[in-house]
Protein backbone atom coordinates (compact mmCIF):
# COMPACT_ATOMS: atom_id res chain seq x y z
CA UNK A 1 0.00 0.00 0.00
CA UNK A 2 2.82 2.39 0.89
CA UNK A 3 4.47 1.60 -2.43
CA UNK A 4 1.23 2.39 -4.15
CA UNK A 5 0.94 5.78 -2.45
CA UNK A 6 4.51 6.60 -3.43
CA UNK A 7 3.68 5.69 -7.00
CA UNK A 8 0.57 7.86 -7.08
CA UNK A 9 2.50 10.76 -5.61
CA UNK A 10 5.08 10.47 -8.35
CA UNK A 11 2.30 10.37 -10.95
CA UNK A 12 0.83 13.61 -9.60
CA UNK A 13 4.25 15.28 -9.75
CA UNK A 14 4.35 14.40 -13.44
CA UNK A 15 0.91 15.83 -14.03
CA UNK A 16 1.32 19.03 -12.05
CA UNK A 17 4.76 19.82 -13.44
CA UNK A 18 3.68 19.57 -17.03
CA UNK A 19 1.81 22.69 -18.13
CA UNK A 20 0.45 20.98 -21.21
CA UNK A 21 -1.20 18.17 -19.33
CA UNK A 22 -2.45 20.60 -16.69
CA UNK A 23 -4.09 22.65 -19.38
CA UNK A 24 -5.70 19.62 -21.01
CA UNK A 25 -6.88 18.41 -17.63
CA UNK A 26 -8.35 21.55 -16.20
CA UNK A 27 -8.38 24.27 -18.83
CA UNK A 28 -10.03 22.27 -21.58
CA UNK A 29 -13.11 21.08 -19.73
CA UNK A 30 -14.02 24.57 -18.60
CA UNK A 31 -13.14 26.18 -21.91
CA UNK A 32 -15.11 23.61 -23.88
CA UNK A 33 -18.20 23.73 -21.77
CA UNK A 34 -18.21 27.54 -21.90
CA UNK A 35 -17.62 27.50 -25.63
CA UNK A 36 -20.35 25.03 -26.35
CA UNK A 37 -22.66 26.60 -23.81
CA UNK A 38 -22.40 30.20 -24.87
CA UNK A 39 -20.93 30.49 -28.31
CA UNK A 40 -22.06 27.46 -30.21
CA UNK A 41 -25.77 27.37 -30.34
CA UNK A 42 -28.54 26.20 -32.59
CA UNK A 43 -30.97 28.74 -31.23
CA UNK A 44 -31.79 31.76 -33.33
CA UNK A 45 -32.08 35.03 -31.46
CA UNK A 46 -32.03 38.64 -32.55
CA UNK A 47 -31.80 37.99 -36.25
CA UNK A 48 -31.68 41.11 -38.39
CA UNK A 49 -34.62 41.21 -40.72
CA UNK A 50 -35.55 43.48 -43.63
CA UNK A 51 -39.13 44.19 -44.57
CA UNK A 52 -40.54 45.28 -47.88
CA UNK A 53 -44.07 46.41 -47.18
CA UNK A 54 -45.70 47.14 -50.52
CA UNK A 55 -49.19 47.79 -49.27
CA UNK A 56 -48.44 49.88 -46.19
CA UNK A 57 -51.78 49.27 -44.55
CA UNK A 58 -52.97 48.77 -40.97
CA UNK A 59 -52.94 44.98 -41.28
CA UNK A 60 -49.44 44.78 -42.59
CA UNK A 61 -48.25 47.13 -39.85
CA UNK A 62 -49.79 44.81 -37.29
CA UNK A 63 -48.01 41.84 -38.78
CA UNK A 64 -44.72 43.69 -38.86
CA UNK A 65 -45.10 44.69 -35.23
CA UNK A 66 -45.92 41.16 -34.30
CA UNK A 67 -42.80 39.84 -35.97
CA UNK A 68 -40.36 42.44 -34.79
CA UNK A 69 -41.61 42.28 -31.23
CA UNK A 70 -40.67 38.60 -30.97
CA UNK A 71 -37.31 37.85 -29.42
CA UNK A 72 -36.17 36.06 -32.54
CA UNK A 73 -35.99 39.12 -34.69
CA UNK A 74 -34.61 42.55 -34.15
CA UNK A 75 -33.27 45.54 -36.02
CA UNK A 76 -35.91 45.58 -38.65
CA UNK A 77 -34.88 47.49 -41.67
CA UNK A 78 -37.46 48.80 -44.09
CA UNK A 79 -36.68 48.62 -47.75
CA UNK A 80 -38.55 50.19 -50.60
CA UNK A 81 -38.18 47.88 -53.59
CA UNK A 82 -37.06 44.44 -54.78
CA UNK A 83 -33.76 45.79 -56.06
CA UNK A 84 -32.62 46.41 -52.52
CA UNK A 85 -33.09 42.80 -51.44
CA UNK A 86 -29.92 41.56 -53.03
CA UNK A 87 -27.99 44.48 -51.57
CA UNK A 88 -29.08 43.89 -47.95
CA UNK A 89 -28.27 40.19 -48.18
CA UNK A 90 -24.88 40.91 -49.61
CA UNK A 91 -24.07 43.24 -46.76
CA UNK A 92 -24.44 40.12 -44.68
CA UNK A 93 -26.19 41.31 -41.56
CA UNK A 94 -29.75 40.70 -42.69
CA UNK A 95 -30.66 37.03 -42.69
CA UNK A 96 -34.25 37.26 -43.90
CA UNK A 97 -36.44 39.53 -45.98
CA UNK A 98 -40.18 39.63 -45.62
CA UNK A 99 -42.24 40.85 -48.56
CA UNK A 100 -45.84 41.82 -48.02
CA UNK A 101 -47.68 42.05 -51.30
CA UNK A 102 -49.53 45.00 -52.77
CA UNK A 103 -53.02 45.61 -51.42
CA UNK A 104 -52.45 43.09 -48.68
CA UNK A 105 -55.50 44.01 -46.56
CA UNK A 106 -57.77 44.32 -49.56
CA UNK A 107 -56.84 40.89 -50.85
CA UNK A 108 -57.23 39.43 -47.42
CA UNK A 109 -60.75 40.74 -47.03
CA UNK A 110 -61.99 40.38 -50.60
CA UNK A 111 -60.42 37.13 -51.62
CA UNK A 112 -59.63 35.69 -48.18
CA UNK A 113 -56.16 35.30 -49.49
CA UNK A 114 -52.97 37.29 -49.18
CA UNK A 115 -49.32 36.31 -49.53
CA UNK A 116 -46.25 37.02 -47.54
CA UNK A 117 -43.01 36.04 -49.13
CA UNK A 118 -40.16 34.98 -46.87
CA UNK A 119 -36.70 35.06 -48.37
CA UNK A 120 -33.91 33.69 -46.23
CA UNK A 121 -30.16 33.67 -46.59
CA UNK A 122 -29.40 29.96 -46.90
CA UNK A 123 -25.63 30.22 -46.77
CA UNK A 124 -26.32 28.78 -43.35
CA UNK A 125 -29.07 26.25 -44.07
CA UNK A 126 -29.97 25.57 -40.46
CA UNK A 127 -30.47 29.20 -39.63
CA UNK A 128 -32.45 29.76 -42.81
CA UNK A 129 -34.70 26.86 -42.03
CA UNK A 130 -35.30 27.93 -38.47
CA UNK A 131 -36.03 31.55 -39.46
CA UNK A 132 -38.58 30.47 -42.00
CA UNK A 133 -40.24 28.20 -39.42
CA UNK A 134 -40.38 30.95 -36.82
CA UNK A 135 -41.85 33.42 -39.30
CA UNK A 136 -44.48 30.99 -40.52
CA UNK A 137 -45.58 30.21 -37.02
CA UNK A 138 -45.83 33.90 -36.09
CA UNK A 139 -47.98 34.48 -39.17
CA UNK A 140 -50.05 31.46 -38.33
CA UNK A 141 -50.64 32.75 -34.81
CA UNK A 142 -51.69 36.10 -36.12
CA UNK A 143 -54.15 34.49 -38.48
CA UNK A 144 -55.71 32.51 -35.68
CA UNK A 145 -56.05 35.60 -33.52
CA UNK A 146 -57.81 37.45 -36.28
CA UNK A 147 -60.07 34.52 -37.07
CA UNK A 148 -60.98 33.62 -33.56
CA UNK A 149 -64.56 34.92 -33.86
CA UNK A 150 -65.18 33.49 -37.24
CA UNK A 151 -66.46 29.99 -37.65
CA UNK A 152 -64.58 27.96 -40.16
CA UNK A 153 -66.07 24.67 -41.32
CA UNK A 154 -63.25 22.60 -40.01
CA UNK A 155 -59.77 23.20 -38.89
CA UNK A 156 -56.79 21.09 -37.86
CA UNK A 157 -54.76 22.72 -35.19
CA UNK A 158 -51.49 20.96 -34.42
CA UNK A 159 -50.59 21.38 -30.79
CA UNK A 160 -46.91 20.79 -30.50
CA UNK A 161 -45.24 20.24 -27.21
CA UNK A 162 -41.51 19.85 -26.86
CA UNK A 163 -40.73 17.70 -23.86
CA UNK A 164 -37.50 17.30 -21.87
CA UNK A 165 -36.11 20.51 -23.29
CA UNK A 166 -39.12 22.74 -23.89
CA UNK A 167 -37.03 25.82 -24.55
CA UNK A 168 -34.93 23.88 -27.06
CA UNK A 169 -31.75 25.01 -25.40
CA UNK A 170 -28.84 23.65 -27.35
CA UNK A 171 -26.65 23.62 -24.28
CA UNK A 172 -28.75 20.69 -23.04
CA UNK A 173 -27.62 18.79 -26.07
CA UNK A 174 -23.99 19.86 -25.80
CA UNK A 175 -23.40 19.15 -22.13
CA UNK A 176 -23.63 15.36 -22.43
CA UNK A 177 -21.49 15.50 -25.56
CA UNK A 178 -18.83 17.73 -24.06
CA UNK A 179 -18.72 15.64 -20.92
CA UNK A 180 -18.20 12.54 -23.05
CA UNK A 181 -15.42 14.15 -25.09
CA UNK A 182 -13.61 15.40 -22.04
CA UNK A 183 -13.79 12.15 -20.13
CA UNK A 184 -12.57 10.34 -23.23
CA UNK A 185 -9.74 12.82 -23.75
CA UNK A 186 -8.57 12.91 -20.16
CA UNK A 187 -8.90 9.21 -19.55
CA UNK A 188 -7.78 7.65 -22.80
CA UNK A 189 -5.37 10.15 -24.27
CA UNK A 190 -3.69 11.24 -21.08
CA UNK A 191 -3.17 7.70 -19.79
CA UNK A 192 -1.88 6.38 -23.08
CA UNK A 193 0.55 9.29 -23.28
CA UNK A 194 1.71 8.90 -19.72
CA UNK A 195 2.33 5.16 -20.12
CA UNK A 196 4.17 5.49 -23.43
CA UNK A 197 6.23 8.29 -21.88
CA UNK A 198 7.67 5.81 -19.39
CA UNK A 199 8.43 3.46 -22.25
CA UNK A 200 10.19 6.19 -24.18
CA UNK A 201 12.26 7.26 -21.19
CA UNK A 202 13.20 3.69 -20.35
CA UNK A 203 11.72 3.99 -16.87
CA UNK A 204 9.07 1.39 -17.71
CA UNK A 205 11.84 -1.19 -17.90
CA UNK A 206 13.12 -0.14 -14.49
CA UNK A 207 9.62 -0.44 -13.05
CA UNK A 208 9.20 -3.91 -14.54
CA UNK A 209 12.51 -5.04 -13.08
CA UNK A 210 11.43 -3.75 -9.67
CA UNK A 211 9.35 -5.94 -7.35
CA UNK A 212 6.22 -4.13 -8.55
CA UNK A 213 3.96 -6.39 -10.59
CA UNK A 214 3.03 -5.21 -14.10
CA UNK A 215 -0.62 -4.79 -13.13
CA UNK A 216 0.42 -2.70 -10.13
CA UNK A 217 2.39 -0.44 -12.44
CA UNK A 218 -0.61 0.00 -14.72
CA UNK A 219 -3.04 0.59 -11.87
CA UNK A 220 -0.61 3.08 -10.39
CA UNK A 221 -0.46 4.88 -13.73
CA UNK A 222 -4.21 5.04 -14.32
CA UNK A 223 -5.41 5.71 -10.79
CA UNK A 224 -4.61 9.46 -10.81
CA UNK A 225 -6.52 9.80 -14.06
CA UNK A 226 -9.59 8.06 -12.66
CA UNK A 227 -9.48 10.55 -9.83
CA UNK A 228 -8.97 13.57 -12.11
CA UNK A 229 -11.66 12.39 -14.54
CA UNK A 230 -14.16 12.13 -11.71
CA UNK A 231 -13.29 15.67 -10.64
CA UNK A 232 -13.76 16.79 -14.23
CA UNK A 233 -17.13 15.09 -14.47
CA UNK A 234 -18.23 16.80 -11.26
CA UNK A 235 -17.01 20.21 -12.48
CA UNK A 236 -18.86 19.80 -15.77
CA UNK A 237 -22.09 18.78 -14.09
CA UNK A 238 -21.85 21.66 -11.61
CA UNK A 239 -21.11 24.18 -14.37
CA UNK A 240 -24.03 22.97 -16.42
CA UNK A 241 -26.40 23.01 -13.47
CA UNK A 242 -25.45 26.40 -12.10
CA UNK A 243 -24.49 28.32 -15.21
CA UNK A 244 -26.68 26.78 -17.87
CA UNK A 245 -29.56 25.68 -15.62
CA UNK A 246 -29.31 22.20 -16.98
CA UNK A 247 -31.59 19.90 -15.03
CA UNK A 248 -30.48 16.59 -13.60
CA UNK A 249 -33.82 14.86 -13.43
CA UNK A 250 -32.53 11.40 -12.64
CA UNK A 251 -30.50 10.06 -9.78
CA UNK A 252 -27.12 11.67 -9.20
CA UNK A 253 -25.89 8.35 -7.89
CA UNK A 254 -26.73 6.61 -11.16
CA UNK A 255 -25.11 9.48 -13.06
CA UNK A 256 -21.96 9.02 -11.01
CA UNK A 257 -21.97 5.27 -11.48
CA UNK A 258 -22.38 5.51 -15.25
CA UNK A 259 -19.67 8.17 -15.45
CA UNK A 260 -17.20 5.99 -13.55
CA UNK A 261 -18.08 3.09 -15.84
CA UNK A 262 -17.39 5.24 -18.88
CA UNK A 263 -14.17 6.56 -17.36
CA UNK A 264 -12.94 3.01 -16.81
CA UNK A 265 -13.96 2.16 -20.35
CA UNK A 266 -11.92 5.08 -21.70
CA UNK A 267 -8.97 4.20 -19.45
CA UNK A 268 -8.90 0.66 -20.75
CA UNK A 269 -8.85 2.09 -24.27
CA UNK A 270 -5.96 4.29 -23.20
CA UNK A 271 -4.05 1.29 -21.86
CA UNK A 272 -4.77 -0.57 -25.08
CA UNK A 273 -3.40 2.33 -27.12
CA UNK A 274 -0.29 2.46 -24.97
CA UNK A 275 0.40 -1.22 -25.61
CA UNK A 276 0.44 -0.68 -29.36
CA UNK A 277 2.37 2.58 -29.50
CA UNK A 278 6.03 3.10 -28.75
CA UNK A 279 6.15 6.87 -28.59
CA UNK A 280 4.07 9.60 -27.05
CA UNK A 281 3.39 11.10 -30.46
CA UNK A 282 1.96 7.85 -31.78
CA UNK A 283 -0.19 7.48 -28.70
CA UNK A 284 -1.47 11.01 -29.13
CA UNK A 285 -2.21 10.59 -32.83
CA UNK A 286 -4.03 7.30 -32.27
CA UNK A 287 -6.05 8.83 -29.46
CA UNK A 288 -6.98 11.88 -31.47
CA UNK A 289 -7.75 10.17 -34.76
CA UNK A 290 -9.02 6.90 -33.39
CA UNK A 291 -11.01 8.18 -30.46
CA UNK A 292 -11.75 11.88 -30.63
CA UNK A 293 -12.96 12.03 -34.22
CA UNK A 294 -15.44 9.17 -33.88
CA UNK A 295 -16.63 10.63 -30.58
CA UNK A 296 -17.29 13.98 -32.20
CA UNK A 297 -18.64 12.75 -35.53
CA UNK A 298 -20.29 9.40 -34.95
CA UNK A 299 -21.56 9.43 -31.40
CA UNK A 300 -24.68 11.41 -32.16
CA UNK A 301 -23.27 14.31 -30.19
CA UNK A 302 -23.56 16.83 -33.02
CA UNK A 303 -24.90 14.91 -35.99
CA UNK A 304 -28.00 12.78 -35.41
CA UNK A 305 -27.23 9.11 -35.95
CA UNK A 306 -30.62 8.44 -37.54
CA UNK A 307 -29.83 10.70 -40.47
CA UNK A 308 -26.48 9.05 -41.21
CA UNK A 309 -25.98 6.59 -44.06
CA UNK A 310 -26.61 3.01 -42.89
CA UNK A 311 -22.94 1.89 -42.83
CA UNK A 312 -22.08 4.78 -40.53
CA UNK A 313 -25.05 3.99 -38.32
CA UNK A 314 -23.70 0.47 -37.95
CA UNK A 315 -20.21 1.73 -37.15
CA UNK A 316 -21.59 4.13 -34.56
CA UNK A 317 -22.63 1.11 -32.48
CA UNK A 318 -19.06 0.21 -31.65
CA UNK A 319 -18.33 3.66 -30.28
CA UNK A 320 -18.67 3.64 -26.50
CA UNK A 321 -19.39 7.37 -26.50
CA UNK A 322 -22.66 6.81 -28.36
CA UNK A 323 -24.02 4.68 -25.55
CA UNK A 324 -22.74 6.98 -22.85
CA UNK A 325 -24.42 9.98 -24.48
CA UNK A 326 -27.71 8.09 -24.63
CA UNK A 327 -27.36 7.25 -20.95
CA UNK A 328 -26.41 10.81 -20.00
CA UNK A 329 -29.30 12.37 -21.89
CA UNK A 330 -31.65 9.83 -20.38
CA UNK A 331 -30.57 10.51 -16.83
CA UNK A 332 -30.09 14.26 -17.03
CA UNK A 333 -33.01 15.28 -19.23
CA UNK A 334 -35.58 12.51 -18.97
CA UNK A 335 -34.85 11.41 -15.45
CA UNK A 336 -34.83 7.74 -16.36
CA UNK A 337 -33.51 5.12 -13.97
CA UNK A 338 -31.36 2.07 -14.51
CA UNK A 339 -34.44 0.14 -15.71
CA UNK A 340 -34.41 2.14 -18.93
CA UNK A 341 -30.70 2.38 -19.56
CA UNK A 342 -29.63 -1.10 -18.48
CA UNK A 343 -29.11 -2.16 -22.07
CA UNK A 344 -26.72 0.70 -22.80
CA UNK A 345 -25.01 0.11 -19.46
CA UNK A 346 -24.46 -3.55 -20.28
CA UNK A 347 -23.01 -2.61 -23.67
CA UNK A 348 -20.57 -0.20 -22.01
CA UNK A 349 -19.69 -2.80 -19.41
CA UNK A 350 -19.15 -5.45 -22.07
CA UNK A 351 -16.91 -3.14 -24.08
CA UNK A 352 -14.91 -2.28 -20.97
CA UNK A 353 -14.33 -5.94 -20.12
CA UNK A 354 -13.36 -6.59 -23.73
CA UNK A 355 -10.86 -3.72 -23.86
CA UNK A 356 -9.31 -4.66 -20.53
CA UNK A 357 -8.99 -8.29 -21.64
CA UNK A 358 -7.43 -7.25 -24.92
CA UNK A 359 -4.92 -4.93 -23.28
CA UNK A 360 -3.90 -7.59 -20.75
CA UNK A 361 -3.29 -9.97 -23.63
CA UNK A 362 -1.35 -7.38 -25.63
CA UNK A 363 0.63 -6.42 -22.57
CA UNK A 364 1.65 -10.01 -21.94
CA UNK A 365 2.74 -10.47 -25.53
CA UNK A 366 4.93 -7.41 -25.20
CA UNK A 367 6.56 -8.75 -22.09
CA UNK A 368 7.43 -12.01 -23.83
Amino acid sequence: MKRFIGFIKKEFYHIFRDRRSLFILFGMPIAQIMLFGFAITNEINNVDIAILDKSKGATTQEIINKITSSKYFSNKQLIENEAEIEAVFKKGKVKAVLILENDFSKNLIKENNATVQIITDATDPNTANTISNYTSSILHNYQQEVNKDIQIAYQIIPQTKMVYNPELKSVFMFVPGVMTIILMLVSAMMTSISITREKELGTMEILLVSPLKPFQVIIGKVFPYIFLSIINAVVIVLLSIFIFKMPVEGSLFLLGFESVLFIINALSLGILISTISETQQTAMMISLMGLMLPVILLSGFIFPITSMPVPLQVISNIIPAKWFIIILKGIMLKGVGIALVWKETMILLGMTVFFIGLSIKKYKIRLE
Binding site: K2, F7, L201, E205, P211
Partner: protein, 242 residues
Protein backbone atom coordinates in the same frame (compact mmCIF):
# COMPACT_ATOMS: atom_id res chain seq x y z
CA UNK B 1 24.38 -25.19 -5.53
CA UNK B 2 27.50 -23.62 -4.15
CA UNK B 3 26.96 -20.50 -2.11
CA UNK B 4 29.61 -18.62 -4.03
CA UNK B 5 27.84 -18.76 -7.38
CA UNK B 6 25.21 -16.03 -7.52
CA UNK B 7 24.30 -16.50 -11.18
CA UNK B 8 24.18 -19.87 -12.81
CA UNK B 9 22.94 -20.42 -16.36
CA UNK B 10 22.77 -23.74 -18.12
CA UNK B 11 21.84 -24.03 -21.76
CA UNK B 12 19.79 -20.87 -21.48
CA UNK B 13 18.00 -20.27 -24.79
CA UNK B 14 15.57 -17.69 -26.12
CA UNK B 15 13.85 -17.99 -29.46
CA UNK B 16 11.72 -15.32 -31.14
CA UNK B 17 9.81 -17.34 -33.70
CA UNK B 18 12.48 -19.03 -35.82
CA UNK B 19 15.19 -16.68 -34.70
CA UNK B 20 17.45 -17.87 -31.90
CA UNK B 21 18.48 -14.74 -30.04
CA UNK B 22 20.30 -16.55 -27.26
CA UNK B 23 21.64 -20.03 -28.07
CA UNK B 24 22.19 -22.36 -25.11
CA UNK B 25 24.53 -20.22 -23.05
CA UNK B 26 26.14 -21.71 -19.96
CA UNK B 27 28.09 -19.75 -17.39
CA UNK B 28 28.47 -18.99 -13.71
CA UNK B 29 29.13 -15.75 -11.91
CA UNK B 30 30.75 -15.73 -8.47
CA UNK B 31 29.83 -13.53 -5.57
CA UNK B 32 31.60 -10.18 -5.58
CA UNK B 33 32.83 -10.63 -9.12
CA UNK B 34 32.77 -8.04 -11.89
CA UNK B 35 31.49 -10.04 -14.80
CA UNK B 36 31.73 -8.43 -18.23
CA UNK B 37 29.18 -9.49 -20.80
CA UNK B 38 30.56 -8.49 -24.18
CA UNK B 39 29.20 -8.70 -27.66
CA UNK B 40 28.38 -6.67 -30.72
CA UNK B 41 24.97 -5.03 -31.01
CA UNK B 42 22.41 -7.73 -31.68
CA UNK B 43 24.59 -10.54 -30.34
CA UNK B 44 21.96 -11.32 -27.71
CA UNK B 45 23.43 -9.57 -24.66
CA UNK B 46 20.32 -7.66 -23.74
CA UNK B 47 18.03 -10.64 -24.33
CA UNK B 48 20.20 -12.82 -22.10
CA UNK B 49 20.20 -10.17 -19.44
CA UNK B 50 16.42 -9.75 -19.61
CA UNK B 51 16.00 -13.46 -18.92
CA UNK B 52 18.25 -13.19 -15.89
CA UNK B 53 16.43 -10.19 -14.43
CA UNK B 54 13.07 -11.90 -14.74
CA UNK B 55 11.29 -9.84 -17.39
CA UNK B 56 11.67 -12.40 -20.17
CA UNK B 57 10.88 -16.09 -19.89
CA UNK B 58 13.53 -18.39 -21.42
CA UNK B 59 12.48 -20.80 -24.17
CA UNK B 60 14.61 -23.55 -22.68
CA UNK B 61 17.53 -24.15 -20.33
CA UNK B 62 17.91 -23.30 -16.68
CA UNK B 63 19.09 -20.33 -14.73
CA UNK B 64 19.31 -19.33 -11.11
CA UNK B 65 19.92 -15.81 -9.98
CA UNK B 66 20.65 -15.15 -6.29
CA UNK B 67 19.62 -18.78 -5.71
CA UNK B 68 16.18 -18.25 -7.20
CA UNK B 69 14.94 -19.94 -10.32
CA UNK B 70 14.07 -17.67 -13.26
CA UNK B 71 10.96 -19.71 -14.12
CA UNK B 72 9.43 -20.23 -10.72
CA UNK B 73 10.68 -17.33 -8.68
CA UNK B 74 11.19 -14.18 -10.76
CA UNK B 75 9.59 -12.09 -8.01
CA UNK B 76 12.27 -13.03 -5.51
CA UNK B 77 14.96 -12.39 -8.09
CA UNK B 78 13.61 -8.89 -8.59
CA UNK B 79 13.89 -8.15 -4.88
CA UNK B 80 17.54 -9.17 -4.82
CA UNK B 81 18.88 -7.46 -7.89
CA UNK B 82 19.41 -3.91 -9.06
CA UNK B 83 19.19 -2.82 -12.67
CA UNK B 84 20.42 0.19 -14.56
CA UNK B 85 19.65 0.58 -18.23
CA UNK B 86 21.64 2.36 -20.89
CA UNK B 87 19.23 5.29 -20.68
CA UNK B 88 20.10 6.00 -17.02
CA UNK B 89 16.36 6.09 -16.60
CA UNK B 90 15.39 8.50 -13.88
CA UNK B 91 12.40 10.82 -13.90
CA UNK B 92 13.51 14.11 -15.40
CA UNK B 93 10.62 16.06 -13.97
CA UNK B 94 11.27 14.88 -10.44
CA UNK B 95 13.98 16.28 -8.21
CA UNK B 96 16.99 14.25 -7.10
CA UNK B 97 15.36 13.80 -3.71
CA UNK B 98 12.00 12.75 -5.17
CA UNK B 99 13.65 10.20 -7.46
CA UNK B 100 15.49 8.65 -4.53
CA UNK B 101 12.31 8.58 -2.45
CA UNK B 102 10.31 7.02 -5.26
CA UNK B 103 12.73 4.27 -6.19
CA UNK B 104 13.45 3.52 -2.54
CA UNK B 105 9.70 3.32 -2.02
CA UNK B 106 8.99 0.82 -4.78
CA UNK B 107 11.64 -1.48 -3.31
CA UNK B 108 9.83 -1.30 0.00
CA UNK B 109 12.37 0.72 1.97
CA UNK B 110 11.02 2.50 5.04
CA UNK B 111 10.98 6.26 5.28
CA UNK B 112 13.90 6.23 7.75
CA UNK B 113 15.94 3.92 5.54
CA UNK B 114 15.31 6.12 2.53
CA UNK B 115 16.34 9.23 4.44
CA UNK B 116 19.51 7.62 5.68
CA UNK B 117 20.41 6.29 2.24
CA UNK B 118 19.66 9.61 0.66
CA UNK B 119 21.95 11.57 2.98
CA UNK B 120 24.72 9.07 2.44
CA UNK B 121 24.29 9.06 -1.33
CA UNK B 122 24.07 12.83 -1.65
CA UNK B 123 27.22 13.15 0.43
CA UNK B 124 29.17 10.60 -1.62
CA UNK B 125 28.16 11.93 -4.99
CA UNK B 126 28.52 15.56 -3.99
CA UNK B 127 24.95 16.34 -4.94
CA UNK B 128 24.19 18.43 -1.87
CA UNK B 129 23.52 21.64 -3.79
CA UNK B 130 21.22 20.05 -6.34
CA UNK B 131 19.21 17.70 -4.18
CA UNK B 132 16.09 19.78 -4.75
CA UNK B 133 16.77 20.43 -8.42
CA UNK B 134 15.00 18.58 -11.22
CA UNK B 135 17.03 15.72 -12.63
CA UNK B 136 16.62 17.24 -16.10
CA UNK B 137 19.00 20.02 -15.06
CA UNK B 138 21.84 17.61 -14.20
CA UNK B 139 24.69 16.83 -16.63
CA UNK B 140 24.66 13.34 -18.13
CA UNK B 141 27.57 12.09 -16.03
CA UNK B 142 25.78 13.01 -12.80
CA UNK B 143 22.61 11.38 -13.99
CA UNK B 144 24.53 8.20 -14.69
CA UNK B 145 26.07 8.13 -11.21
CA UNK B 146 22.75 8.95 -9.62
CA UNK B 147 21.00 6.21 -11.60
CA UNK B 148 23.66 3.74 -10.50
CA UNK B 149 23.32 4.73 -6.85
CA UNK B 150 19.54 4.58 -7.07
CA UNK B 151 19.78 1.04 -8.47
CA UNK B 152 21.83 0.15 -5.39
CA UNK B 153 19.47 1.76 -2.85
CA UNK B 154 17.97 -1.53 -1.70
CA UNK B 155 21.40 -3.16 -1.34
CA UNK B 156 20.90 -5.83 -3.99
CA UNK B 157 23.07 -8.93 -4.12
CA UNK B 158 23.69 -8.46 -7.81
CA UNK B 159 23.58 -5.35 -9.94
CA UNK B 160 22.93 -5.62 -13.66
CA UNK B 161 24.30 -2.78 -15.78
CA UNK B 162 23.17 -2.60 -19.38
CA UNK B 163 25.77 -0.60 -21.31
CA UNK B 164 26.17 1.81 -18.42
CA UNK B 165 28.71 4.13 -20.01
CA UNK B 166 27.08 4.92 -23.34
CA UNK B 167 27.54 8.51 -24.41
CA UNK B 168 29.59 9.53 -21.37
CA UNK B 169 32.99 11.23 -21.59
CA UNK B 170 36.18 9.24 -20.78
CA UNK B 171 36.81 10.94 -17.44
CA UNK B 172 33.31 10.24 -16.22
CA UNK B 173 33.64 6.68 -17.49
CA UNK B 174 36.77 6.27 -15.44
CA UNK B 175 35.03 7.64 -12.32
CA UNK B 176 32.11 5.39 -12.97
CA UNK B 177 34.32 2.34 -13.07
CA UNK B 178 35.76 3.41 -9.72
CA UNK B 179 32.21 3.29 -8.36
CA UNK B 180 31.80 -0.18 -9.83
CA UNK B 181 35.00 -1.38 -8.14
CA UNK B 182 33.88 0.00 -4.84
CA UNK B 183 30.52 -1.72 -5.16
CA UNK B 184 32.13 -5.06 -5.98
CA UNK B 185 34.54 -4.59 -3.11
CA UNK B 186 31.55 -4.31 -0.77
CA UNK B 187 30.42 -7.75 -1.89
CA UNK B 188 27.86 -6.87 -4.56
CA UNK B 189 28.23 -8.86 -7.74
CA UNK B 190 28.37 -6.69 -10.86
CA UNK B 191 27.07 -8.02 -14.15
CA UNK B 192 27.87 -5.51 -16.86
CA UNK B 193 27.27 -5.49 -20.60
CA UNK B 194 29.37 -3.21 -22.72
CA UNK B 195 30.73 -2.82 -26.17
CA UNK B 196 33.64 -0.66 -25.08
CA UNK B 197 36.36 -3.26 -25.26
CA UNK B 198 38.77 -1.23 -23.13
CA UNK B 199 36.27 -1.48 -20.29
CA UNK B 200 36.42 -5.25 -20.54
CA UNK B 201 39.96 -5.04 -19.21
CA UNK B 202 38.57 -3.77 -15.90
CA UNK B 203 36.43 -6.88 -15.38
CA UNK B 204 37.42 -9.94 -13.36
CA UNK B 205 36.11 -12.21 -16.06
CA UNK B 206 34.50 -11.55 -19.40
CA UNK B 207 32.33 -13.55 -21.71
CA UNK B 208 32.16 -12.73 -25.40
CA UNK B 209 28.91 -13.40 -27.20
CA UNK B 210 28.75 -13.83 -30.96
CA UNK B 211 25.44 -14.53 -32.68
CA UNK B 212 23.70 -15.74 -29.53
CA UNK B 213 26.49 -18.01 -28.32
CA UNK B 214 29.19 -17.48 -25.74
CA UNK B 215 32.40 -17.96 -27.72
CA UNK B 216 34.88 -17.23 -24.96
CA UNK B 217 34.79 -16.88 -21.21
CA UNK B 218 37.72 -16.22 -18.95
CA UNK B 219 39.71 -13.51 -17.26
CA UNK B 220 40.92 -10.81 -19.66
CA UNK B 221 44.51 -11.86 -19.09
CA UNK B 222 43.93 -15.52 -19.95
CA UNK B 223 41.80 -14.65 -22.94
CA UNK B 224 44.58 -12.52 -24.36
CA UNK B 225 47.10 -15.32 -23.77
CA UNK B 226 44.80 -17.90 -25.30
CA UNK B 227 44.06 -15.90 -28.41
CA UNK B 228 47.54 -14.45 -28.58
CA UNK B 229 46.12 -10.97 -28.72
CA UNK B 230 47.38 -7.67 -27.36
CA UNK B 231 44.03 -6.49 -26.10
CA UNK B 232 40.47 -7.71 -25.55
CA UNK B 233 39.58 -5.68 -28.59
CA UNK B 234 41.79 -7.94 -30.70
CA UNK B 235 40.33 -11.03 -29.03
CA UNK B 236 36.89 -9.78 -29.91
CA UNK B 237 37.79 -9.06 -33.51
CA UNK B 238 39.30 -12.54 -33.92
CA UNK B 239 36.14 -14.12 -32.55
CA UNK B 240 33.72 -11.95 -34.46
CA UNK B 241 35.46 -12.58 -37.76
CA UNK B 242 35.48 -16.31 -37.02
Amino acid sequence: MKQTNVIKAEGLTKMFGDFTAVNAITFEVKKGEIFGFLGANGAGKTTAMKMLIGILTPTSGNAQVANFDVYTNPDNIKKNIGYMSQKFALYDDLTVKENITFFGGIYGLSREQIKEKRCQLVEELGLKDVVNELVSSLPLGWKQKLAFSVALLHEPKIIFLDEPTGGVDPITRRQFWEMIYKTAHNGTTVFVTTHYMDEAEYCDRVSIMVDGKIEALDSPKKLKEHFKAASINDVFLKLARG
